[in-house]
């Protein structure tokens, strides 16, 4: 993801701030005939989030997953790898004919706490979004 500086992110997290990645997952079915003019059918959409922070008590990186579970990492590399990947996210089955998945990641370097989260409207430099990636289901 362009704009996502690993060193900068690590400094942020070690500075006591939380970072968040929101994945936008959409499942589509391609339309045939004249229907493509109307666009493909969106069958499913979900926005799983992962939040990472430094836990000063356990002196480890804490990663909170989309299902609410947490995992602690003593090393940065393992934490960063798991933080920037979406794992074990259940995508419903819709068959395989013409089905494809679009995924986008929106990274928020600093998660503003209330009432400061109104700043997320104004401070774009803390947010980065990747392009949409298409995954075809064969």
């Amino acid at each position: 993801m362009s704009g996502l500086e690993e060193t900068d992110l690590r400094q942020h997290i070690l500075g006591g701030f939380r970072s968040r990645i929101q994945f936008r997952v959409r499942v589509y079915r391609e339309n045939s005939g004249i229907l493509p003019l109307l666009g493909d059918d969106m069958l499913f959409e979900a926005h799983p989030e992962q939040t990472g922070r430094w836990d000063p008590f356990s002196s480890s990186y804490e990663l909170r997953f989309h299902d609410g579970s947490r995992r602690y990492f003593s090393g940065w590399e393992a934490f960063y790898r798991d933080f920037t990947e979406l794992r074990n996210f259940p995508v419903p089955e819709f068959g395989s004919s013409g089905i494809y998945i679009l995924v986008q990641a929106r990274f928020q370097k600093m998660v503003f706490n209330p009432p400061l989260n109104i700043l997320s409207v104004f401070l774009n430099r803390y947010a980065v979004a990747s392009p949409w990636f298409r995954l075809d289901r064969e």
Binding site: G16, D55, N117, L119, F122
Partner: protein, 589 residues
């Protein structure tokens, strides 16, 4: 009777704006509560939608205000009544709006700023950092104690006895380390051998077996309890074992610790972005309040319309009456002071109309009396020479019949001439009194004047007629024959006023009086002019200064112009010349 009533259209618009105002308030409430909800749920604020709506609302309102301002300036430049008053009212409303909204905005932002400074002061920072340090020290101490305990040889000796000595050994262990909440001893295969202390801190056998030796991961249970554990393996004569030491942290320790770090994180965020945050709050406040302020300005436009409408109606009614329309009335349903004024005005116009009709009746009688007198005078004038000629003939016939023929011709000629004059006089009077109603149709003004002037081509050597000041395409809805007569009479009049020659200049312009557009025709001669003492008599029938005039020429002109719903007047300077002004409606009736 014509009249003017407050139109219901503006009331509908006002009602619509009030509904829009309520809708905007509702939207503001919904959005603000949405933001509050987002804030409470720690979600990113849906800023894009809010900003877009605020901008769209503001743009629509700005557009509506722009149109109103444009109309106000256009009305001002065209001299419409009530514009200045409306402008002053608008300024007044604007000042009131600003006076009420600016202090509110400043107060709100200042309150937020003060609250932020109070809540997020350096004391709070110290308290938070101190609290975190205390919590971490407490936590670290528990960890250190646990690690120390698991490595302590005395403790290990007590543990070795625990499977045999049981409760006594556990109590000795508790005396050595009061922090310890429970102890479990497992065989090397994970089989539980001994357990003592608080059962809430016990670890499952399978987890105990699979965990590596040393400090275990902190376990946070669903009831909010957190447990620190250390695993230690040992061997004695009976075989290999491992012990798990557990310390139960105070309930909700994890949650409180997380809240503490989160609050400290918020504090650090604010410390880093305090200026931007205040700016963001101000902008957000503006997003909500700016459209409301614009709406208030728009409403004040309509309110000012409602306020000035009776005054404008009164002004228009006054103008109509001044233009001679006494049938105009102001209609009003309300019962305020301005309506009372309108009622008084209507009564005044009604009385004025009655008085005017009375005066007109009196003037009419007086005019007929004057006409009768003048007609009698004009008829009597030729009767004297007729009578004298007849008496002369009779006398000569009786006294010297031989000389009768010599007198006969001259006397009969005189009688015939005077009778012809009488005939001409009566014919013109009949024509004047029976002047038909104008048969209007579009006609080019310049052509009409040229046709009238061509009749007087024989005067060309003496008088120069200029028509340069008349547009070629200027068309009027008039009776061409009557209008030709008007110009012919004016040319005759001018020619008589310039016996030694001169110039006669025609000019035409479009002018606007009230809501009506007129064509103003000027006929300017360089004749002897009219003395001021004769101004009031110029248009009177049978008033003439010429020996052979009937005195009906300018009366006919005035009558025709009046029948065309026009006006005629003149300006004159003795020795310089006279200019007649004729205003004729420029639009088709």
């Amino acid at each position: 009777m014509k009249g003017m009533r407050r139109p219901t259209g503006s009331l509908t618009v006002l009602l619509g704006l009030v509904l829009l105002y309520i809708l905007l308030i509702a939207l503001v409430l919904v959005f603000s509560s949405r933001i509050l909800l987002d804030l409470s749920m720690n979600r990113a604020v849906a800023g894009g939608l809010i900003a877009a709506l605020a901008v769209i609302f503001s743009l629509v309102l700005l557009w509506a205000i722009g149109i109103n301002v444009f109309q106000l300036f256009r009305a001002g430049s065209s001299g419409k009544p009530g514009v200045r008053f409306k402008f002053r009212l608008m300024l007044f409303f604007l000042v009131v709006i600003l006076l009420s909204s600016i202090p509110q905005a400043v107060l709100s932002v200042n309150f937020i700023n003060t609250s932020m400074r109070t809540w997020f002061s350096s004391r709070t920072a110290d308290a938070l950092r101190g609290g975190l340090a205390v919590a971490m020290e407490y936590y670290g101490e528990k960890i250190t104690n646990l690690q120390t305990l698991s490595r302590n040889k005395f403790v290990l000796s007590l543990i070795e006895e625990a499977d045999a000595a049981g409760k006594q050994a556990w109590e000795s262990l508790r005396l050595a380390s009061p922090d310890l909440d429970c102890l479990q001893i497992f065989a090397a295969d994970g089989k539980k051998i001994f357990a003592a202390g608080n059962p809430a801190g016990f670890i499952e056998e399978e987890f105990a077996l699979s965990a590596a030796e040393g400090l275990l991961s902190r376990e946070t249970r669903t009831d909010g309890a957190s447990i620190l554990r250390a695993k230690k393996s040992y061997e004695n004569r009976r075989g290999r074992f491992f012990a798990v030491f557990s310390v139960i942290l105070p309930r909700e320790f994890d949650r409180y610790a997380e809240e503490l770090t989160s609050t400290l994180e918020t504090f650090n965020q604010l410390d880093r972005s305090r200026t931007v945050f205040l700016l963001a709050v101000t902008i957000l406040y503006g997003f909500f309040s700016f459209p409301l302020m614009l709406l208030a300005i728009l409403v004040s436009f309509l309110l000012s319309d409602e306020i000035i409408r009776p005054i404008v109606n009164l002004e228009e009614a006054t103008r109509k009456v001044a233009e001679g329309d006494f049938s105009y009335r102001i209609l009003s349903r309300s019962r305020d002071e301005l309506s009372l004024l309108a009622g008084s005005f209507n009564r005044m116009i009604s009385e004025l109309e009655k008085s005017r009709l009375k005066i007109l009746q009196t003037e009419k009688v007086a005019a007929w009396q004057e006409i009768a007198q003048r007609l009698a005078h004009e008829i009597k004038n030729p009767l004297t020479p007729i009578k004298l000629s007849a008496q002369r003939l009779l006398k000569r016939y009786r006294e010297s019949p031989g000389d009768f023929e010599r007198v006969l011709d001259s006397s009969v000629d005189s009688i015939i001439r005077e009778v012809d004059n009488l005939d001409k006089l009566l014919t013109e009077f009949r024509n004047f009194s029976r002047l038909p109603a104008p048969q209007k149709k579009p006609a080019l003004l310049k052509t009409l004047i040229q046709e009238a002037a061509s009749t007087y081509a024989h005067l060309a050597e003496k008088i120069t007629i200029h028509l340069e000041g008349i547009p070629e395409d200027l068309s009027l809805s008039v009776d061409p024959a009557q209008m030709r007569q008007v110009f012919a009479n004016l040319i005759t009049n001018a020619a008589d006023a310039m016996p030694g020659g001169g110039s006669l200049r025609f000019r035409a312009d479009l002018v606007k009086k009230g809501d009506t557009k007129y064509c103003r025709i000027q006929v300017e001669d360089t004749g002897e002019g009219i003395g001021r003492e004769r101004f009031s008599q110029v248009f009177n029938p049978y008033y003439t200064t010429k020996s052979n005039g009937t005195g009906l020429g300018l009366s006919v002109v005035e009558r025709i112009v009046f029948d065309h719903k026009g006006q005629i007047w003149f300006e004159s300077e003795p020795g310089v010349g006279t200019t007649f002004f004729i205003d004729l409606p420029a639009e088709n009736p």
